[in-house]
């Protein structure tokens, strides 16, 4: 039962991450999930020490990180990526002061081997909800990605959409750390998307394929993990990268 629940949770998280990732590629945001995952490490460490859900620990730290980057960017006018480096490295450093070393693997590359029923239900509910919101904001967000100026000229509230978008990223990162850990979150949003980008001829295909590759790589990774007792997170990423390699050769 627990194995089935972890497979199910992983599939939903992978799908939602791939779907959201398809919105992050055009905004040059794919890598942002990486630092945000690293930032979550202190939260993950606290969750491991006190035995509560990893995502619950990660979420406030991811939000704090996004807020700090946003604040520093406003105050300093430095590029966001440089500020991200400052913030996320600090997050990792702080985590290592109190991260229980025997549980470091779970924190760094994830552990979805045992999932309780209530966790699975909550995870699936959040995944469905975020995917639903992604679908709603998709047209306007695509327009904003193409040109903020056009979007603004059409009186679209760009700030509001960006805020929703960042909150979605925070949710997916918080869920993602459970599956692939603090180190690998960039991969679950980035790889299915670039694979899909290689093959898609239009937006509908692009969204569908990103979602599908997210699901497929999670399913394969977790299944392999249950066979081999290697950690699922790295197996998911390797499966995903393998699909990407195939897509290079299938590309038109």
């Amino acid at each position: 039962m627990s194995q089935f629940l972890s497979l199910l949770s992983g599939i939903f998280i992978g799908g939602a991450a791939g779907f959201l990732g398809s919105l992050m590629l055009p905004k040059r945001m794919s890598l942002v999930a990486g630092p945000l995952g690293h930032l979550a490490l202190p939260g993950i460490a606290l969750a491991l020490i006190y035995g509560f859900d990893i995502s619950l620990g990660a979420f406030p730290f991811v939000i704090l990180g996004i807020f700090l980057i946003w604040l520093f960017e406003r105050k300093t006018k430095l590029p966001a990526e440089a500020l991200t480096a400052v913030v996320f490295a600090t997050g990792v450093a702080v985590a290592f002061f109190f991260l229980p070393i025997e549980q470091a693997e779970a924190a760094l590359v994830g552990d979805i081997s045992s999932v309780h029923l209530e966790d699975a239900v909550l995870t699936i509910a959040i995944c469905v909800a975020t995917s639903f919101v992604v679908e709603i904001i998709y047209p306007k967000m695509t327009l904003i990605n193409i040109s903020e100026d056009i979007a603004k000229s059409q009186k679209i509230n760009v700030g509001k959409y960006n805020l929703i978008y960042l909150l979605l990223i925070a949710s997916i990162v918080a869920l993602g750390v459970k599956v692939v850990g603090g180190l690998l979150t960039a991969a679950i949003v980035a790889i299915p998307t670039v694979t899909s980008r290689n093959l898609a001829k239009n937006l509908v295909q692009y969204k569908f394929l990103a979602l599908s590759f997210g699901i497929l790589s999670s399913a394969v990774g977790i299944f392999l993990s249950q066979l081999t007792s290697l950690p699922a997170g790295p197996l998911i990423i390797v499966s995903s990268a393998f699909l990407f390699l195939i897509s290079i050769f299938l590309k038109r």
């Binding site: 055009p26 047209p139 990605n145 040109s147 100026d149 056009i150 898609a200 937006l203």
Partner: protein, 234 residues
């Protein structure tokens, strides 16, 4: 010439502490084609953005009540990142497929382009699609940033004809930015010479004297700091 569709009074724009537009006042009439002419860094793109309300400004920009504005920016560098078909691009503007087909006909493109990826179009086709896309919201006014930039002579010619036809058939008011003198004479009713300030405004044949032109471009050499406007648009 109809009533004023746009009134601008004492428009000033400062970006990052630098004066970009200084004390501009002008009217645009219904059905008029106004060219905004000036060298690189003269603030032409910024003027369009101020008129659209997407950069902060001081002064008055007053559009006539209920006017619908279509905007065609200079370039859309990020559009190639998205695997978007032409049909889907029109759908972003809430244009149903049959309307998109009709627009395509009016801009001289076949239906088969609907299934193509926007990123795969030639620059001439892309520019036409952008114009068509701006027309999808059924605007009364088109704001146009360098409509002919990056297009070969043949393509320029046909785009120019397209603009002329749109002007006649749709009774559009068109404001377009350019630094090329050649396209101004045939198409435009009035020209606004801009280099941070308004240096001249009126019918091109009267106002674009050799002195006015050398004044417009010579003064730019003094201030020119290689601030290419395309860079501001990303």
């Amino acid at each position: 010439m109809g009533d004023a569709v746009l009134r601008v009074e004492n428009l000033n724009v400062r970006l990052n502490g630098e004066e970009v537009l200084v004390d501009l006042s002008f009217d645009v009439h219904d059905g008029e084609v106004l060219a905004i002419l000036g060298p690189n860094g003269a603030g032409k793109t910024t003027l369009l953005k101020a008129l659209l309300g997407i950069v902060p400004y001081q002064g008055v920009v007053k559009w006539r009540e209920g006017v619908r504005i279509g905007y065609v920016p200079q370039r859309l560098p990020f559009i190639k990142d998205v695997p978007l078909s032409v049909k889907e691009f029109f759908r972003l503007e809430n244009a149903p497929e049959n309307e998109a087909r009709e627009i395509l006909r009016s801009i001289g493109l076949g239906e088969e382009i609907l299934g193509k990826k926007v990123g795969d179009l030639s620059s001439g086709q892309f520019q036409r699609i952008l114009i068509g896309w701006a027309l999808a919201s059924d605007p009364n006014v088109l704001l146009f940033d360098e409509p002919l930039a990056g297009i070969d002579i043949g393509g320029q010619e046909s785009l120019y004809n397209l603009l002329e036809r749109l002007k006649e058939t749709k009774n559009l008011t068109i404001l377009f930015v350019t630094h090329e003198l050649s396209i101004i004479y045939g198409l435009t009713d009035r020209v606004l010479c801009l280099n941070k300030r308004m240096l001249c405004m009126g019918a091109p044949k009267e106002k674009l004297t050799p002195e006015a032109i050398s004044n417009l471009y010579a003064s730019s050499i003094k201030f020119y700091q290689h601030k290419h406007e395309e860079g501001e648009l990303s």
